[in-house]
């Protein structure tokens, strides 16, 4: 039986009494009695569909301080565990919850472990059923949601995370940083394996780990992406730095894998696309362009330590364009991202400063993208994002070359 360092003695004892389970589900967002009771009552209808003769264990945060004793022989069991709310795209908070979930899942020899990190109570049963089915019934090792979204939603994902992970790891998983995911026992073993750093748990997204380990991954159509759980004080610059830091660390850790990968392959997608109102309200990009232009005036010295001279010149040219004709070309955006990956790896300046200094360029890309897609329909916007992804794939040799020979002259 796997060790349970992350859970309390009482929980360990209960896990030993339960013995085995078919499915373990973590609900970090159910941090009080009302939320938990609502989730559990709605889950009772779903459990028989997923597990006809086994047990289903629900993990809820210890901090909820709810005493819900249950019969160890019943099919739906509740267990307090070291879980805390998962912030959107915040890998450390997701990793902490995943470690607790997978440790309990492995101890109970569960066939699937499901993390519903960002699902609201009302959508938990639907989310659980859709995500667990591919793992339990079709033998997949990882299932992640493919959220329906409006034109200008999840821009960090659309502009950075998805195209970058797709180009590097070769799997077209649209939400590689989703906090809702179902994992098989094989992936749990992979995730809980100690890292190269003795005594340190592994870090990084479960999606990239699954792809790098050659496991079977899939995605499931879901409704709107949930509202981000971030504190009001968290500004865009901090969120962006957090996302970039985790992505870039992943790139460093998996350098051996992505250097061998060429092109990208679609992954199986379950379900039907959800219909949503695709249009965002009227937008104003003036402030974003203004921040980009200010960055080009004041931050050139900072960018010059990582960006190539040609990229700097192109940025300066873009800063001179009037707002209505403002564009940041895909190739330029990809070069900027790749150069920042290299700067992050070489630690040319403090990593925190480097990542935060990218905010004005990101806002420039958002403004350019928003202007381009403002009059486009859903299909055309998808085509536009596909074009961006292809630019990432086409320019990957540039990253590869500079990764291997960083000192080579680069105009």
């Amino acid at each position: 039986m796997a060790t349970l360092e992350t859970t309390s003695a009482e929980t360990k004892e209960r896990v030993e009494r339960i013995g085995e389970a078919d499915l373990v589900v973590a609900l970090p967002s159910c941090h009080n009695r009302e939320l938990l009771e609502a989730a559990v009552s709605s889950l009772r209808a779903v459990v028989p569909e997923l597990s006809s003769n086994g047990k289903v264990v629900i993990l809820y945060p210890e901090s909820a301080n709810v005493d819900m004793p249950g019969d160890d022989e019943s099919s739906l069991l509740l267990l307090p565990c070291a879980l805390s709310p998962v912030e959107r795209y915040h890998e450390p908070s997701l990793a902490q919850g995943l470690r607790s979930l997978l440790t309990v899942g492995r101890a109970l020899r569960a066939r699937a472990c499901v993390m519903l990190g960002s699902e609201a109570a009302v959508s938990i049963p639907d989310g659980l059923r859709l995500l667990a089915e591919p793992v339990l019934k079709h033998g997949y090792d990882l299932a992640v949601p493919l959220y329906a979204r409006r034109k200008l939603d999840s821009l960090i994902n659309s502009g950075i995370a998805y195209p970058l992970t797709r180009a590097l790891y070769g799997a077209r998983l649209c939400y590689p940083m989703a906090a809702d995911l179902a994992l098989s026992q094989r992936l749990a073993d992979q995730y809980l394996r100690p890292s190269a750093l003795a005594g340190q748990p592994q870090s990084g997204w479960a999606t990239t780990k699954a792809v790098c380990a050659g496991l079977q991954v899939c995605q499931v159509h879901r409704d709107f992406a949930p509202v981000p759980i971030v504190s009001e004080q968290t500004d865009l610059s901090s969120s962006l730095a957090q996302v970039l830091s985790t992505l870039f660390m992943d790139v460093e850790q998996n350098a051996g894998f992505w250097q061998r990968t060429r092109g990208s392959q679609p992954v199986r997608t379950f379900g039907q696309p959800r219909q949503v109102d695709f249009e965002n309200p009227a937008m104003d990009v003036h402030k974003m362009v203004e921040t980009f232009q200010r960055g080009c005036r004041d931050l050139l010295d900072v960018w010059a330590v990582t960006l190539s001279p040609a990229t700097l010149i192109d940025l300066k040219k873009a800063a001179k364009l009037p707002v209505d004709r403002f564009r940041l070309m895909d190739d330029l955006w990809v070069h900027v991202l790749f150069d920042f990956i290299l700067g992050h790896r070489q630690r040319v300046i403090s990593r925190e400063h480097l990542l935060r200094s990218m905010t004005p360029i990101y806002l420039g890309w958002v403004a350019s993208y928003a202007l381009e897609v403002q009059n486009l329909g859903q299909g055309a916007v998808e085509d536009r994002l596909e074009k961006l992804c292809l630019s990432f794939e086409t320019l990957k040799p540039y990253l590869l070359s500079r990764w291997r020979w960083p000192d080579r002259f680069n105009p």
Binding site: P228, K287, R347, S350, H353, R356
Partner: protein, 233 residues
Amino acid sequence: MLEKVQQALNESTAKVITGFANLLPGIVALIVAVLVSILIAMLLGFLLRRFLRGVDFDAKMAGWGWAGLSDISPERSPTLLAVRFVYWCVILVGALIGIAAFDATLTQQMVMRLFSYLPNFLAAILLILFGNVIARFLARGVLIGAVNMNLPYGRLLSLGVKWLVIVLTAAMALDHLGIGGKIVDLAFAILFGGIVLALALAVGLGSKDLVSRSLQQQTSQRKEESEGQFHHL
């Protein structure tokens, strides 16, 4: 009369020549010591440079969080900075050995005082060095933060922070060297207090429109996000 003048001249010439003859070995020793120390410094510099390049010292320093050190290094290389530091230290020691060879009480006293002063001098150099690195680090952080907040005077703010830290470390270094005495303390207190007061007045009076505009911009940015125009996350 003329004989006496001639005798006085002869005696003084003999004295000067004797004095010079007495000093000559010391001067030769000084020149030899400096030349030998230059040779040793060049050799040590060469070996140190090869060693530091071999262990990729520049990248390691950046990895340990001392990336700012390259800003003040010749050719942006901390390796060259370390090599030049060792080079000049060896030459300084050589010069001191040469001066000590004069065998004069005054020179000896001077050397002794110089040696006892050396720790203070090194501490002052380190203070200046660290102060410079910290000043640049903070200035860059302020500049990036100000640009991300779309503040119009980011460069000015960053420059202000940089010079505040540099003035502070310079005052500390001078205090350590014992130069200026109370004048440095007094001047620093006046200067630092003046800068803080000026900033407070600027924010309180002159820049109240600017501050309110910046706060308004931030609020409207959050409002845009919450109203659903853009969702970055």
